[in-house]
Subunit: 357 residues, 2 copies
DNA sequence: ATGAAAGCGCTAACAT
DNA sequence: ATGTTAGCGCTTTCAT
């Protein structure tokens, strides 16, 4: 017979009832040690593995959690899922991954498939749509946590976009820069808009004028990083420092600067990337740690399983500014030097990180 | 009531029996168009999503496939899973991911959990252990495909390790190199051993002596790439060309060469990495396309579902040698030049690839 | 073209 | 401490 062993086979083999087997498997109540041993032996011999389908059919909630992210091809999200998977494994849960590809419809299909179809024990997702009303019917039974982007009504794990940007741009100001570029604004993403607001705040407080020419903007989803970098460097009063608003832009900018032999231009990137510490000078980065975010999200999921009572809120995960060289380059000396001489010590957490991935 | 709608609710709402609803959902046989329309309407209104647990309990095989890989934190495997996920989505299947972390026991636990516990419709895995006898009981019902590393008895999707290495090392020989380093041999991995054998074959055919000093070897899982590179460059007769046997070694080697200002040393890497085309010169790579491998694996899984009859075999996915500069650097001219002058045209497929990831 | 009833493997009452 | 029984939501015979 090719039929896989079921609880009945174990029961028969151990000479007990199926309920006793169930009790042993689920570590329920007290089973006589001798009986338990016999059952465990039978399980071993037969190679019995409980059928999760039957289990979740009965209990209404399964042995897997669902994760919906932009795309697994994005290293940040891949690392995020990896962190979640590690935690899930320890908890005896499996992980169902699905990509939204930043499409609201696909996001809806994937979420419903997980929550209604697979009856997952919880969902962690990087929200795309502004609202997710279709989840309402399930949220009483399935905890849902948002990551990377915040959504009202959900526990949301995010990094302090605005605050981290403030520290980075302030560092440029302290180094005497007056022409600071915001490289790749994209109004479709609220996280990037929050970084933009931090940028503006620092300029205002420092008394520096805001120059729209210093902002590169992605329109219709595309921006040629190379020519955009050339434009900023070719202005009458060129940019002397670059804040790259996301890892993709940072990679493009780094490549562009290297190709134009301008790699000694000051630069800080939001988001770490694999070769940031390989190129010279190293690219200073705001480190958005996917493991920290993944762990926090999983933690929230577990907490929600216990008490679904308390109000959902935003959970802010700390970032670090990795000083690798490119962010510490001072402004070139100009004839009309007006910058203050007070080189304020930044309160930024600093760290170095070895081993490129 | 917070109960999610079931097939019964749909049946009641549409005024038909549950079997008719089942038929509509599964696109079975011919249902009267009018009836079908009524059922579809009811499904729409109620937001009905079939319960996969019940479905797989009944049918014995579920709506998900399982993928077990080394680690999602490895960009190659993340991209591989991404490719698989895309294909699965089109087929209406979900993806359960699990990591082995290169541990045989964990591999076994994960595989059994997927196959016996979740009753997945198929498994794609990057094998760790040499044998997987515990899968035998399930393979008649669950198709299993190996990727990246080959295993007898399984359909295995691999790239032509030896052949691709031969092309790369031959290119060095054609450019006059006589001191070619094999950077990072690791005897634990059969793929890397196959690359090693290709390296040896080229040397033998070219009449070049094999010098063990030119082989860097990972022992006990660790190798300091930087000092190892220095050693090879500091030999009495130093290495003039490097074959990096894997992406991790390639990253370490690139960093080491740049730090020592030796970036104009000839180098070809097995496996592409994100900044290979950003540094100068670009690092020539043997491109091991995860999307190609993922697609081939999924294809095999589907084929196995149809006919499990034919003998499992190895499926070799093509590679390309991406000429980016570092692999085309000729040997420095020496006083005792003995190399033939015939610069053989290589049969290598060449391509350029834009956009660093 | 449609329906009734049995049962997949397990857990949760409710015995004993 | 252990056993009996019902039923989760669906698909699958077998009728009609």
């Amino acid at each position: 017979m090719i039929r896989r062993p079921g609880i009945k086979d174990v029961a028969a083999s151990a000479g007990v009832s199926i309920k006793t087997v169930s009790r042993v498997v689920n570590a329920e109540e007290a089973v006589h040690p001798e009986t338990r041993a016999r059952v465990l032996h039978a399980i071993q011999v037969l190679g019995y593995v409980p059928n999760t389908a039957a289990r979740s059919l009965k209990s209404g909630t399964g042995g897997a959690i669902g994760v919906v992210i932009d795309s697994l091809a994005d290293p940040f999200f891949a690392a995020l899922v990896s962190a979640i998977e590690t935690r899930a494994l320890a908890e005896g849960l499996s992980v169902l991954v699905a990509s939204s590809n930043l499409d609201s419809d696909q996001e809806r299909d994937q979420l419903l498939s997980l929550v209604a179809g697979h009856q997952v024990a919880g969902v962690i997702f990087a929200p795309v749509a502004a609202e997710h009303p279709y989840l309402d019917a399930y949220r009483t039974v399935t905890p849902v946590v948002a990551v990377d982007r915040s959504r009202a009504g959900f526990d949301s794990i995010v990094v302090d976009d605005r605050g981290a940007t403030v520290l980075a741009v302030q560092q440029f100001v302290d180094l005497g820069h007056e022409r600071i570029a915001f490289f790749d604004r994209d109004q479709r993403f609220s996280t990037i808009e929050r970084r933009m607001s931090g940028y503006l705040d620092v300029l205002r407080e420092a008394g520096l004028p805001f120059d729209p020419e210093l902002v590169s903007e992605t329109v219709d989803g595309s921006l040629d990083y190379r020519s955009e970098a050339d434009r900023l460097l070719g202005l009458d009063r060129p940019a002397t420092a670059f804040f790259a608003s996301n890892a993709k832009a940072a990679i493009g900018l780094t490549a562009a600067l290297h190709r134009s032999h301008r790699q000694h231009t000051a630069m800080i990137a939001f988001g770490d990337f694999s070769f940031a510490d390989v190129v010279r000078p190293g690219v200073s980065c705001i480190d958005q740690d996917p493991f920290l975010i993944g762990n926090a999200a999983f933690e929230r999921l577990l907490a929600r399983r216990e008490s679904s009572s308390d109000e959902p809120r935003e959970w802010i995960v700390p970032t670090a500014l990795l000083q690798r060289g490119s962010g510490e380059i001072p402004a070139p000396v100009t004839t009309s030097e007006t910058g203050t001489a007070t080189a304020t010590e930044t309160a930024t957490a600093t760290a170095t990180r070895g081993g490129a991935r």
